[in-house]
């Protein structure tokens, strides 16, 4: 099978990730719960994971790296901390439901979308400027669209937010490990990310980088200040109630080490080259509509496309039957599809990891040519 769904989960991982998770199942207990060897070994692994993430994302204090279950969990903490009834919140037109659904759940919230055309970072920045000028309490912006791979100008948006004194939450679900990300330079209130995508950790892991004191989403045991019936005031304990996912964190640590060894810039360059090759190849297929940025700097290793005469889900299925794993539909991001004009039809999405090869993209192109020319069973 050729796996091209890394925007959902990087299924191919460095071998060390699975080894570390398996080892953790047998050797690690719970950090902060007991002073015995397995508990302290778990604490060492958890701390090493925080330190590795702090180095990768330039977080000066590792306790500001908080473990979550996934990016959605972190975004819910961040939004729950900053968005209140009546808050004026500006979001990009490419947000995932992990951002929009928590916001829609807050009563009387004024939600404004800073709309900009696909692959036009300057227009997106100007849209944010216009909306922030109208007055805002919070901005939320994805770094990269999970549907189109559009790289939003998050550094410039962060600078704008700092200038206007507006708190910023960054959804780094599609950029963490794939593009450089400097937490200290951004000055964001929170940056949320999954562990199981570009960081090559197991599912059930995520990170929330905290630039401010958060409001806990969960309450419970932390292995600290146990006599108090309120959550500790300090990080990471304030946000980490309950037992840690140690097999997950041990795997994530190896994923983070892999990314740092490989170099984020190298990963970005490799994925960019491959996505250009794939996109340009698709553009030569009659009937294909390909969402490929003119400027390679505006697109990560994610590419959406449609083939004339094919329902996107049927095309996804047909590719599945031929040994490819791609995701079709709305990708949990109806707002992004609305912004690009694909809400009704949806798209098929190819998304890469460092384990994909030129040969794999060539095979996909050959198969798409066959399907587009009637060599399949279009709906």
């Amino acid at each position: 099978m050729i796996y091209l769904d890394s925007a959902a989960t990087t299924m191919q991982k460095p071998a060390s990730v699975a080894r570390a998770s398996a080892w953790a199942m047998e050797h690690l207990a719970s950090p902060g719960r007991g002073g015995h060897r397995p508990a302290m070994a778990a604490a060492e692994t958890a701390f090493a994971c925080r330190e590795e993430a702090a180095k990768l994302f330039h977080v000066s204090q590792p306790e500001r790296v908080v473990f979550t279950f996934n990016a959605t969990h972190g975004l819910n903490i961040a939004i729950g901390t900053l968005a209140k009834p009546g808050s004026r919140v500006v979001i990009s037109g490419y947000e995932h439901n992990a951002v929009t659904r928590p916001l829609h759940g807050i009563p009387e919230l004024e939600l404004r979308v800073a709309r900009g055309p696909l692959f036009d970072p300057q227009a997106t920045l100007e849209a944010f400027r216009r909306e922030l000028d109208r007055g805002a309490d919070l901005a939320v912006c994805t770094h990269v669209s999970n549907v189109f791979g559009f790289i939003l100008p998050v550094e410039e948006i962060a600078a704008l937010c700092r200038e206007k004194g507006v708190a910023l939450i960054v959804d780094a679900s599609q950029s963490a490990g794939c593009l450089p990300l400097d937490f200290e330079a951004l000055g964001a209130a929170f940056v949320a990310m999954p562990g199981h995508k570009g960081l090559y950790g197991p599912q059930g892991t995520g990170l929330l980088l905290c630039g401010m004191d958060p409001k806990p989403l969960l309450a419970g045991g932390t292995g600290s200040e146990s006599r108090l019936q309120t959550m500790p005031a300090f990080l990471p304990d304030r946000l980490e109630a309950g037992t840690h996912n140690m097999p997950g964190l041990a795997g994530l640590l190896e994923g983070l080490r892999f990314v740092r060894r490989r170099g984020v810039e190298n990963i970005a360059a490799q994925e960019s080259l491959l996505i250009r090759h794939l996109g340009e190849g698709m553009e030569r297929i009659p009937g294909a509509r390909v969402f490929l940025a003119q400027d390679p700097m505006a697109q990560s290793g994610v590419l959406s496309f449609q083939i004339e005469g094919w329902d996107c889900e049927a095309l996804g299925d047909a590719l599945g039957e031929r040994g490819f794993a791609l995701r079709a539909g709305l990708h949990c991001a109806p707002l992004a599809h609305e912004s690009a004009g694909t809400l009704e039809q949806g798209t098929v999405r190819a998304s890469l990891s460092v384990f994909n090869t030129h040969r794999e993209t060539e095979k996909l192109l050959r198969t798409l040519r066959t399907l587009a020319s009637g060599g399949g069973a279009p709906s």
Binding site: G35, M40, E44, F47, E63, S224, E225, S226, R227, L228
Partner: protein
Amino acid sequence: MLYYLIVCRSLTYAQRTAAALERAGITARVLRSPKSISGEGCSHSVKISQRNLPDALRILQRLGLTPKRIYITAGNGSYQEVEL
């Protein structure tokens, strides 16, 4: 042997403290704080030998890693807080 316990506000903070001291060549071990000095219950401390306290304090001050409290073992198994 007499030793000091640097009580930290969290396990992670204790780990940062110990890592900073180890990097400076001071042997430091993270352990659960003894019940009698754990304050609000369940905390972690960093154990260092008696002779290393002045150097350790200088290093921690430089890095902004302020100890919550420091105790010295009294030899009979009890702990006495050290005024900083």
